[in-house]
Symmetry: C2
Subunit: 765 residues, 2 copies
């Protein structure tokens, strides 16, 4: 094929990704704990290499009974993941509820009893700043990777990229503390997004606990087949679904979200497991909350009472739609898509700004405090300036202040700032049309948009699901009031329908999920009838948003430089062959070599995998004369070589009394995630350097291979569907000529830029 054209393409791809990385790299300081946003830090997971000769031999020893026992244990693990995720969810909810109540009581006491504005402002600022400082400090100084909603990490991990600390228990703890602080401070961040990440981390931690519990004894054989990256990824997918299921009371939606956004590798048995987990988590969470809150709830059934429907039940008799409203649904979708794209665009610019200018921990902390103070001031100022009074409704909650209003009424804007987000979303959906005035809705919508933009990029664990829903519900309610003014017939007295559609449009415009969000909305409202309007709105919002920018998670992933693979091979690439984009600086090692040589190779290169070749010399870079590296024999990972050298496995034959211990070591080595462990300098005794080692029993003797002539789209499909990390490129005579890693392929996700440039003005990125 045309070598010149392809080389150009390749170079262009590198340049583009270099730009993005340059922006990202400024954030990475070696001394701080901050997560490195450099592409080279992310290696893909390895679903291929676990199936080594050793595993095979062990599996053979077991037999079918163990297969069945393994299956039972697998389901038990999924069950325990569901229970643990629900328990963590209940814990977070309870603490937030308690803190918010305390905060509200103090503020109401100050405003309605003491009438001292200055004192109130100070109290309010304290209640906002203290949790913010705590939430920010734990993230900054204990676990920087816990910042943000974590959903981009979950998506990347499920796509097959190795994310450092994705399963660390410390990250889980920091995330829980931080998310509680964000919600208690009343910043513009929700707990639903983080709950998805928390669910995934609970999944990972539970799996590791099971692995450790069965490390020795007869259970070792049973747990053995579960000890690999693939099983862990499936269980983390299930945990993420369980998190969403608990957060929104939406098991089917959670399952679909995990499939739609996450997993690149999919099978029907995985779907069952994820659904099983999600379907256990939801009622557990619900039952737990019911038990905790039975004494607290008022006897009167208000919309704020704990319902199994997160958004409150939408009654079918009052809410219906006619086909003549379809244009309105489409307009809602377009508006939501535009607003969502605006949100993503501003978020992108803010992220770039933060990466460039807010680098040190001190600056990051100061930024958070600034945002917290700003939130408190905005809250109180709007309440004072917008002194709209509103008569108390029967269904109103107690969390409002009277302020300067006459008895029996309350300050309208205070209901927004003093409710929890869940209470707010339910009131926006269910209060009658006269409950809010257009002006206060508008103020709320605009200020909350700004607050959310500011909060989402902070070094705290803040999600944007509920804030987006609140913004959308607010403008949806404004629209319903306008529509009601001009033609009262359409909506009667119930603006909830349009508030719901507005919320869906806004969230869909930001997140760009369609089917899973539709199902989440159906499950959270308990209303199946609304499927069609929701679908129309969400599809329109997605398409409109996609016209302007990427979705927020896609944008964040791009910024972080994670080499994620999109779901389809890019178009117009079937004439690009592996020759054009493979990396030809392979380090191939002979299958029989001296230990000293091996140590030198490991200490001087940074490769993660090495093709094993039938050759006497070790080439780490071919000269122009030598176009290839020798006949391919197999493939071995750095982690496996590390274990062999560290535990001196070359000193004794493979089959001795410690057979199982060795086996365990080698297998565990395939999922070492810690780079410091992986790339530490190895040392062997001087006299052992001349021992000859045969790598053949340890290596993967049948790695996936492609020929030089294979097209990009075919290689892409191999990587994406099989979740590969490396693939060896061979020539016509089975000699190694190169290697392709995930990063070589991830460059091509920029094709959309080229495609859109041909059609319209270039995007913001």
């Amino acid at each position: 094929m045309s070598g010149v054209g392809c080389m150009n393409h390749n170079r262009e791809g590198s340049n583009l990704s270099t730009t993005s990385n340059a922006l990202a790299a400024v954030n990475s300081k070696p001394r701080s704990h901050s997560i490195n946003y450099v592409s080279s830090d992310y290696e893909s997971l390895d679903y291929d290499h676990y199936e080594s000769e050793l595993t095979v031999r062990e599996e053979k020893l077991n037999g079918y009974k163990t297969v069945v026992a393994t299956n039972v244990i697998r389901w038990l693990i999924y069950f325990s993941i569901a229970i643990c995720t629900a328990a963590v969810g209940i814990f977070i909810d309870t603490i937030i509820e308690y803190l918010c109540n305390w905060k509200f009581q103090s503020i109401r006491n100050c405003i309605d009893v003491k009438h001292s504005t200055m004192e109130c402002l100070i109290i309010w600022i304290l209640f906002t700043v203290i949790p913010t400082i705590i939430g920010c400090c734990v993230v900054l100084f204990m676990e920087p990777s816990a910042a943000g909603s974590g959903i981009p990490f979950v998506i990347s991990y499920l796509n097959g990229v190795r994310i450092p600390r994705m399963t660390a228990v410390r990250c889980l703890l920091v995330k829980v503390i931080s998310v509680i602080c964000v919600c208690a401070a009343g910043l513009g961040g929700g707990k639903e997004g983080p709950l998805i990440h928390i669910g995934a981390m609970v999944g990972g931690s539970v799996v590791e606990a099971w692995w450790k519990g069965f490390r020795s004894g007869p259970g070792r054989k049973i747990i053995g087949p579960l000890q690999n990256d693939q099983e862990r990824r499936d269980m983390m997918a299930a945990g993420a679904a369980a998190g969403l299921s608990a957060a929104f009371g939406s098991p089917v939606g959670g399952t679909l979200m995990s499939l739609e956004e996450g997993t690149s590798f999919w099978s029907s048995s995985l779907m069952w497991k994820v659904f099983f987990c999600a379907a256990i988590a939801f009622p557990t969470y619900n039952a737990g909350k019911n038990i905790l809150y039975t004494n607290n709830t008022n006897p009167s059934e208000s919309v704020h009472s704990k319902s199994i429907y997160f958004f409150g039940k939408f009654n079918e008799n009052t809410i219906y739609f006619s086909y003549s409203e379809f244009p309105i649904f489409i307009i809602f979708g377009i508006f939501g898509g535009v607003l969502g794209a605006l949100f993503v665009n501003i978020n992108y610019r803010l992220s770039i700004f933060r990466m460039k200018h807010i680098i040190s921990n001190r600056k990051k902390l100061l930024e958070s405090v600034f945002v917290a103070v700003f939130v408190a001031i905005v809250n109180l100022t709007t309440m004072i300036l917008l002194n709209n009074c509103q008569k108390k409704l029967e269904i109103s909650s107690f969390n409002v202040v009277q302020m300067f209003c006459p008895a029996g009424s309350y300050n309208e804007i205070s209901s927004f700032w003093l409710h929890t987000q869940e209470e707010n979303i339910r009131s926006l959906f269910h209060y009658p049309i006269e409950a809010y005035s257009i002006f206060s809705l508008l103020v709320y919508c605009v200020t909350y948009f700004i607050l959310t933009e500011l909060t989402v990029g902070l070094n705290m664990s803040a999600g944007l699901f509920l804030p987006s829903l609140l913004i959308g519900a607010a403008w949806g309610r404004i629209a319903s009031k306008v529509i009601h003014y001009y033609s009262p017939g359409i909506i009667g007295n119930d603006p909830g329908k349009y508030a719901l559609l507005g919320a869906a449009a806004q969230l869909g415009g930001i997140v760009r999920a369609t089917i899973s969000l539709t199902v989440v909305f159906i499950e959270a409202t308990g209303n199946v009838q609304f499927l069609l309007p929701l679908m129309i709105t969400l599809f329109t919002a997605k398409w409109t948003g996609d016209f302007f920018t990427d979705g927020i998670y896609e944008m964040q992933i791009k910024l972080s430089g994670v080499p994620i693979l999109i779901s389809e091979p890019p178009p117009l690439t079937s004439d690009i062959t592996t020759e054009d984009f493979m990396s030809d600086t392979v380090c191939a090692i002979p299958h029989i070599l001296m230990v000293g040589k091996l140590v030198d190779i490991l200490n001087t290169t940074k490769h993660n995998g090495f093709p094993v070749v039938a050759s006497k010399v070790c080439y780490c870079r071919t000269t122009i004369e030598h176009k290839c590296y020798g006949l391919l024999k197999g493939f071995i990972l750095r982690s496996q070589l590390n274990v062999i050298l560290e535990h001196n496995l070359y000193l004794s034959p493979l089959h001795d009394e410690n057979y199982y211990t060795k086996l365990e070591l080698i297998r565990k080595s395939t999922f070492i995630c810690d780079d410091t462990l992986l790339f530490q300098k190895l040392k062997v005794k001087e006299d052992e350097r001349s021992i000859v080692i045969d790598l053949r029993p340890y290596m993967n003797s049948a790695p996936y291979i492609v020929r030089l002539e294979t097209s990009l789209s075919r290689t892409f499909r191999l990587f994406r569907t099989l979740g590969l990390r490396h693939i060896v490129v061979i020539n016509n005579t089975n000699e190694v000529v190169g290697i392709i890693t995930r990063k070589d392929l991830a460059k091509f996700r920029l094709w959309r830029k080229a495609a859109t440039m041909g059609l319209k003005e270039v995007n913001v990125y």
Copy 2:
């Protein structure tokens, strides 16, 4: 690895599958049109080979604008599939409704006015036998592959197996006629299963219509990328989902069913398209039916009126559950699983019996007539013998006869036999507890079980969704009456909850789907609250059923000998390498050879694909000395060679004025489905035999390859996720040593037998 052990395994596998095929093969008579149940007839689809050098060149000519246009056309195709599927659904429904009404009026007239039992019996038999004969004859003499629900075919096709006539318009027509006849005759078969197959066929036909419509002109470039097996398969998956969506009013359930049961290759963009299609089909179908029936419905709101909920709305205020009922849900699941396994087991024995003894068309027709007469006699006899009278309820429909009952009441069992299935299921779910007596429910349940068993295997288009639901709802109602008798507190006056769970358990026990059925039930009842009980029941039913037998579709697929690949590689196979199960009788052809030689190869072998090698001699079977076939150059399909020879492409250079026509020919050749075309004897002029042809421009120059040492599980994953048809096995020096086809892998699905034999008594199969 251990060659002996593997050979044993291999041989055992062959023996097992041979038994099943021997049973199946008796059905295949070359003269009749009947579908051949021999494994070798099913070839897998080819997602790999479309990407030939030629496609690449064409794609390059187009550019990004065409990519966008193609995308727009793609969505338009999905839209038209949804509309067409809904239209066909409406057509079927309307005709069935009309015929059933006519039948009922005649029978009621006879029983209640003329009081002549003998005359009624004759009328009833005529109304049953005539449609049965029509429905059976169209299938037998026009399109034998239209028999049965067709779901096994859909599953196999989506799994990647080429099913002959899957997209033929004649098959679609025959299926529609046959399904109308089954429902009008009142046999124990539903229209929902066939609607899924019909949806898939509509998808296939619509796609082909689009392909034909754009065959020439500038649209050719736009439609080009859509003209391949992969796109067609995606569109047929969407059509199947649209069919289920229309049948049960369940778009999300349809999408999930299509994913859970069907597609082996999955991506989030496919999920969107399938959901889009399903979500359009449902409201279209609904709107169409509303328009047609607006004049017919009674003004009073009865449960029989056309509701958007297929099962009728389940009201949340009357139906609820407590956690103490969980054991009951589990018992329901176990009972449903056992009954379902019984159903599958009987069905299996009946199928074997039919394959052995009912072979000729005459016998098949006689069998159908016998079943039809039996149905009519059973219906009338039970009505006469079980002269239970029941007071007319306010919500009762008109479709009941008074018979020997006093005025104002009706013969209880007649309501079962004279309702349509939809009416029956709604009455079983929604009538108050006193509406049916235990005895008549029991009679209905048992007789309908028998009738369904008899009907499902007939040569007509009968599904088992609704019959299973009816059987389950009947015993669920019996259980509710028993529970109500002993503790009236639990269910109050509403037995619908248990009828619903019984229906779910029964269907789940037969079909073994979990998540999609759960969602179908939620959407069809309009009640989200019931998710947990449904899930518990369905999971228990699935696990219980799986303990005894396979699901009905799995069993039918096994019987038909389709080489389907299960979702996970079988366990304990990672030490089996390709060497042990590959086929070493490859026919490798040199890349440059004489036309005469090529023709001879094609005429004397039955292979579908040929590795192209760098060798001067053509080996079709290696001798013991020659262990390999030569250096691998590429791969070419029989269909591509056929086109080259038929259109004399070897006479002119590739790039001339007819470039596009040739391109079209070659590409179309990759999805020729007709075996008679594919394997017809080729003829070339004697003087053209010596022309030398270079296959390199036509072949696939980078086919997927595996090495001899690759394990079965790895090869399995390659086939399953990439939807491959052949994979070439090479040795250490890139020489062809064998080939693996889907059939070589499909043998291993019998592992479960071995696994269960180790634990308990051997299964029925």
